[in-house]
């Protein structure tokens, strides 16, 4: 795995990585994927991918409102909550 790929994945994963780390990750990931390569030995052409370990029917319930209107609890852990008591999450400006 080369450094460009590592940078691309980091971008997709939204994790900032810097100089040394790119190199170290490239080495680590190369080793890990070399080890994972052994799965190629197994012929899986006619095998269905697993979807669930337990055969079960997904439970369902009546689609009705059973929770909500709980702004304070929802926002309780929000970083940089506006001091003026407004009920928003704050983020950097997205639209100029």
């Amino acid at each position: 795995m080369d450094k460009t790929t590592v940078k691309d994945i980091a971008k997709l994963a939204r994790i900032k990585i810097t100089g040394d780390e790119v190199e170290r990750l490239a080495d680590d990931l190369t080793n890990i994927f070399d080890w994972i390569e052994q799965l190629k030995e197994v012929d899986t052409d006619n095998i269905e991918p697993m979807t669930s370990v337990i055969d079960m029917v997904m439970p369902s319930r009546i689609d009705e409102v059973n929770d909500g209107n709980d702004v304070d609890r929802v926002l309780q852990n929000a970083p940089n909550r506006p001091a003026d008591g407004q009920n928003f999450y704050t983020v950097p400006k997205v639209i100029e």
């Binding site: 994945i9 680590d28 197994v42 337990i54």
Partner: protein, 493 residues
Amino acid sequence: MANLNNLTLAEARDGLSRGDYTAVELAEAHIRAIEDASRLNTFITVTSEIALERAKASDIRRENKEALGSMDGIPIAVKDLFCTEGVQTTAGSHILEGFTPTYESTVTQNLRDAGAVMLGKTNMDEFAMGSANITSYFGTVKNPWSADDGKDRVPGGSSGGSAAAVSGHLAIAAIGSDTGGSIRQPASFAGIVGMKPTYGRCSRWGMVAFASSLDQAGPMTRTVRDAAIMLNDMAGFDMKDSTSVAQNIPDFESAITGSIKGLRVGIPAEYRSDGLSDELSKLWMRGVELLKEAGAEPVEISLPHTKYALPTYYIVAPAEASSNLARYDGVRYGLRVPGDSLDEMYENTRAAGFGEEVRRRIMIGTYVLSAGYYDAYYVKAMKLRTLILSDFKRAFEGVDIMLTPTAPNSAFPIGELMDDPIQMYLNDIFTVPASLAGLPAISLPAGLSDEGLPLGLHLISKPFDEETLFRVGGVLESSLEFNAEPSFLRGLS
């Protein structure tokens, strides 16, 4: 009065109901032990006030003849992976430092409703990713067991804090969680019992998610009976988790009958890998002999895809983790590191908030799910998972239970195995196959290594057949007669 820190859960239950001591006395004894054991770094948050309040409520119930059941008044530790209302829940990560849930996970709620007394939240590998409890933002946990070389040992992971708390008699029992071995491997390293129920037995609601198709909560205790008692009050169908299963919950404790006559015990040939140490090999064969003497019939079986389980796991688990951990973006809760744009804020936050191993696994997961690689890695792994499950299904046509070692080695010194991620991953080589197949399994302390450190044996049973697991576990436990104590309890470290 008996030393309140040495009681098993069953003994404490009986002592409380006889009135030998109160829940408050039990809680106080354990809070004192936690304070005295701070050097082990077992807890991230100690909740003494909550413990005393709940213990008092338990005593009042008992006085009024309204005691709730076996768990009423029992002091337990909770892995810091379970959301607890009003109590910081970090999952061992900087990104969740200070996060205080406004709700309670179903498993902790169930135990709370049963009267259990929470002592605190235990340390763990960050987001449950690790096998040594060295990836926690809140520092490494020390194993109460040590060898003669004076080096501190890891407690295993990821439920290392819970394992150390139970092993060091800081809590009578603890909640752990197991994704690839995170209950069973630390149980083996710390000389205690650790049990992973069938996938779907315990609700995952309110549990910080790592790999949703594998994560399962379970009990960590000092005896098999205690694990059975505790599981009864943890398990159950939950409308809030669509993968929790509406299965009847038997009385697990009464499954411990002491008789295993005629049971067929599978010994998987593939677990006898070249790397298996002599001492572990001997211990395993001793387990087989003991079960045979108790009337069971050992049967050689084959699980042909065993060697592919670990690499399969290292596609599936990171893939699910990379999706689950996408929620930590600095917007709604947890750490936020500012940036000039929204993307930069995400990137800065996640770089500062996640530790090295978590970042590495998110990268693996992102890669195997990315366009062009999805079929080659993720779909391939899900096909392997089908093959691994069918290995088990086929083998279980001929046997009732399987016996294997829990981990390939005993607790290693803190600082070792740090350089090569794959060496660390190999710790879960015997536990991961049952995880991928969703099967219930238990690790129990079986003997000591040449260095004097505990080694575990591992039983795997059919889906939803925890009863056979407890039944055989109970017999194996009493015939192994493991009664060694960690050096920490002998005042040696």
